[in-house]
């Protein structure tokens, strides 16, 4: 046992020891005058102590030099931390419920300004709000006409971007940051989002969809014609990051730099019709990863914006395009505008002049990314509808009469690509087969079971997908949803696709590959029963999840997205009467069990146009026009754990929220 006794101020082993201690303390804080005087006198007399004091000072400078090499935290640190906090919150109190936003009176009458307008850096870098600190423009205080008692709800800085038609008939891209919303609890009325300073890019014509690059100062704009009659997909440079989100930075007076886009290709390649798809459950759509479709000279499309470069033209884009999480790849699915073939998946990266196909079967659609792997699904025929047995009963199916080994000469109209102009054909029924594909090598792995358009959460544990029949749609080369349901289930990632060792031994994309698809599919079961360590070695075992029906048929169309933490899931279901409009739900998902929160419908099915954006802490969508006699609005709900608020833009026309 050690006994301590208090040392008196003059109780030093030696004068040199006292000098050593005081020299060190002198660097911490101002010494008492008596000690400072004594030390000064002693240092004049003692060279050793003087050297030591100088060495302490030198050490201090050396230590401070480490400030220049401060280590950078990983970019996903907040996502990880937020997920951990969410889990902690789940463990503490699980029964909380978000108020229904439909109960919130929103209008332009109040004076609560809750938006700080910020452009640039965090948008195009998609910098997490945790690095954004505080916007330069502070949230305004309630105006004189603010609703008495209404209180803006402070939230961490966030942002939203959208495109809106202006009075000149062109389209403006707005990027707006905000750090407060209207508290739903308070029932506050809020002023609309102030977008006056958020304009960033002008588009000459209507976009069909717009996607932000997570890393580069650019957006991808799908020409609206690419959704209907045939159009292009453009890479559009946007203003480079500005320091406006960094309060410590000084605004630069220099013009915004415009990145040098990929040189415009000339002529723009046009995708050629793909070979007739086979009747067999396809084949891995790998083919030759370097294969590119024949290039047919086509008129260079008119750029949709200054500096825009088309990466594909004369196509109809199917589904929703997306960047890979690291921004390296951009993927989408498209089919030739002439209707000669069904959709295939295309990828593009900044070093490419043009997008290139990575599937070649004319029936594959892109559904999302799992890290750097494309997640897609493919329609495969399983039978035809027999509805003459009992018109009141659900259609039964039988194997397709034309099912059999495919041949190059097979009429695509009689199989998976029916000719809409042909004689009344027996409707075929298709099933969805999901696959993951490495865009770098083209190698792919099929998953077992029926799953169409699966969407996997960022942690790779849960998946939302359509389980059920697919029917050829009105185009004759696409598929709609038949009987079935939208499910939430556990996801077990497959092994990472490996390219064939011997290229000569690889199967032809036209004739199929030895896909590991089981002949007796197990719904939603993965190809591998082992948790995938190849995709993410640190991935924990999948949760034990009760399959949850998110929507039961008939479903015309759906869109499901996860937030970066994997704890929020937004699902949009199209209205059968008008598929452009649907209802949007926001679920809170327990990442351990996959169980939705007690309040299964956070938004109570808010009316929304197709295409919404779900990021950490906020969900944004476009309200249908005509509500309250006004145009559409951008509607944002934002939350911070238990707190939940909302803001809206002013009404406008042809709004599109950026993904």
């Amino acid at each position: 046992m050690t006994m301590f006794r208090r040392r008196r101020p003059d109780d030093w082993a030696s004068e040199h020891e006292r000098a050593r201690v005081l020299s060190a303390l002198d660097l911490v804080e101002r010494l008492p005058s008596s000690d400072a005087a004594w030390l000064s006198d002693h240092l004049l007399e003692c060279a050793t102590c003087r050297e030591l004091a100088a060495a302490y000072e030198a050490d201090r400078l050396l230590l401070r030099s480490l400030r220049d090499t401060a280590p950078e935290p990983p970019r996903d640190l907040w996502a990880r931390t937020a997920a951990a906090i969410e889990q902690e919150a789940w463990g503490a109190v699980r029964a909380w419920r978000l108020p229904r936003i439909g109960h919130v009176p929103l209008g332009a009458a109040s004076g609560l300004l809750v938006v700080a307008v910020v452009v640039g850096v965090t948008l195009f870098g998609k910098t997490p709000p945790e690095t954004a600190v505080v916007p330069t423009a502070p949230p305004a205080t309630p105006g004189p006409d603010a609703t008495p008692g209404s209180t803006p709800l402070a939230i961490p800085p966030n942002q939203v971007a959208w495109v809106q038609k202006n009075d000149l008939g062109t389209y403006d891209l707005f990027v707006v940051g905000f750090d407060a919303v209207c508290s739903v609890d308070a029932g506050a009325e809020c002023a609309p989002i102030d977008s006056s300073a958020g304009k960033s890019v002008e588009l000459s014509r209507a976009p069909g969809s717009v996607v932000l690059s997570p890393t580069a100062p650019q957006i991808v704009v799908v020409d609206v014609a690419a959704s209907t009659t045939g159009g292009s997909v453009f890479i559009v440079p946007v203003p480079a990051p500005q320091p406006s989100f960094d309060p410590s930075a000084t605004p630069s007076p220099t013009p915004i730099a415009t990145p040098d886009p990929t040189p415009p290709p000339d002529p723009t390649p046009t995708p050629q019709p793909t070979p007739p798809p086979s009747n067999e459950p396809s084949a891995s759509p790998t083919g030759s990863p370097d294969a590119t479709p024949d290039v047919t000279p086509a008129p260079t499309p008119i750029p949709i914006a200054e500096g825009a470069v088309a990466i594909i033209s004369d196509v109809i884009v199917v589904g929703d395009p997306a960047y890979s999480p690291d921004g390296t790849w951009f993927a989408f699915s498209a089919r030739p505008a002439d209707g000669s073939a069904g959709p295939d998946i295309y990828v593009w990266q900044s070093s490419d002049e043009m997008a290139r196909p990575v599937t070649f079967d004319g029936r594959s659609v892109f559904t999302g990314w799992i890290d750097d792997l494309v997640l897609g699904s493919r329609a495969v025929p399983i039978g035809v509808i027999i509805d003459d047995l009992d018109p009141t009963s659900s259609p039964a199916t039988r194997p397709p009469a034309t099912a059999g080994p495919p041949s190059p000469g097979t009429d695509p109209g009689s199989t998976s690509s029916p000719d809409p102009g042909a004689s009344p054909a027996i409707p075929e029924v298709f099933d969805g087969v999901a696959f993951v594909l490495d865009p770098a090598t083209g190698a792919s792995v099929d998953l077992v079971g029926s799953s169409w358009r699966p969407v996997v959460d960022p942690s790779g544990r849960l998946v939302v997908f359509w389980e059920g029949a697919l029917l050829v749609d009105g185009t004759g080369v696409g598929w709609g949803l038949g009987e079935g349901r939208l499910l939430l289930d556990a996801w077990i990632a497959p092994e990472r696709p490996q390219p064939p060792i011997d290229p000569d031994a690889s199967p032809s994309p036209d004739t199929g590959s030895p896909a590991p698809t089981s002949s007796a599919p197990t719904p939603s079961a993965p190809a591998s029963t082992e948790p995938s360590s190849s995709l993410d070695p640190s991935m924990s075992p999948p949760p034990v999840v009760l399959r949850t029906v998110l929507a039961d048929g008939p479903v015309v169309d759906f869109d499901a997205r996860w937030d970066p933490t994997g704890t929020r899931l937004a699902v949009w279901i199209a209205d059968p009467a008008d598929p452009k409009i649907g209802s949007l739900r926001l679920f809170v998902v327990d990442p351990d069990t996959g169980v939705l929160s007690p309040s299964e419908d956070r938004l109570d099915g808010a009316p929304a146009l197709r295409g919404f954006s779900l990021e950490r802490g906020r969900l944004a969508w476009i309200t249908p026009p005509g509500q309250d006699g006004e145009g559409s609005r951008l509607h944002v709900v934002a939350w911070s754990l238990d707190r939940f608020g909302t803001i809206e833009s002013r009404p406008g026309s042809e709004l599109i929220v950026l993904q």
Binding site: V28, P71, R80, I85, E130, T548, L596
Partner: protein
Amino acid sequence: MSALSHDARNLPFGNGALLRGGRAVSATWDRGAAGAFVEVLFGKHHGEIYAYLYRMVRDGELAADLTQDAFVKAYKAYDTLEKPENARAWLYQIAHRVALDELRRRKIVRFIPWTGESRGSSPSAEHLAMDLRLSGDLERALARIPERQRAALLLNELHDLTGLELAAALGVSHIAARALLSRARGSLRQALTEERAADAALESTTIEAGER
């Protein structure tokens, strides 16, 4: 089909969980405040907390994990923060404890004699690997001094915590923090001297070998 519709049968908590009286409501409110507060705190300080932890444990991934732990602990300990203006020092205190816990755990792990070496007789493989990662005699010297002294120096010189802030972060009295810092400067001086001497000896050996 095995799938169940999503209804109350799937939910682990009935609506009754919402009706635990005022306490549940209060807990929900506090959690919301805690969450929002920690999010703001993260936005302001996660970089410096990560840097501090990185320099304490000298492992980027581990530092990220510890940073996450620190903010989760801050979320859980939100009620213990009496004055919001002291949040930064409070956060450093949490991070400091997280770091010391990890370093203690690491020491325990290191005691497992899987290498067959006796402690202290020769550098462990971990030490060797660690040394390879460190750059410069300063960082090697920092790695050699006791953790609490290293923490005091880092917090004072790199993170600008002084006086009461430093004491709060270290969880000691003001006087004890001063004494710790004073000892830390002495320890660093000695470690630096030894590191430089070792460097000089190594350099001399290398030159001699080259001349031969």
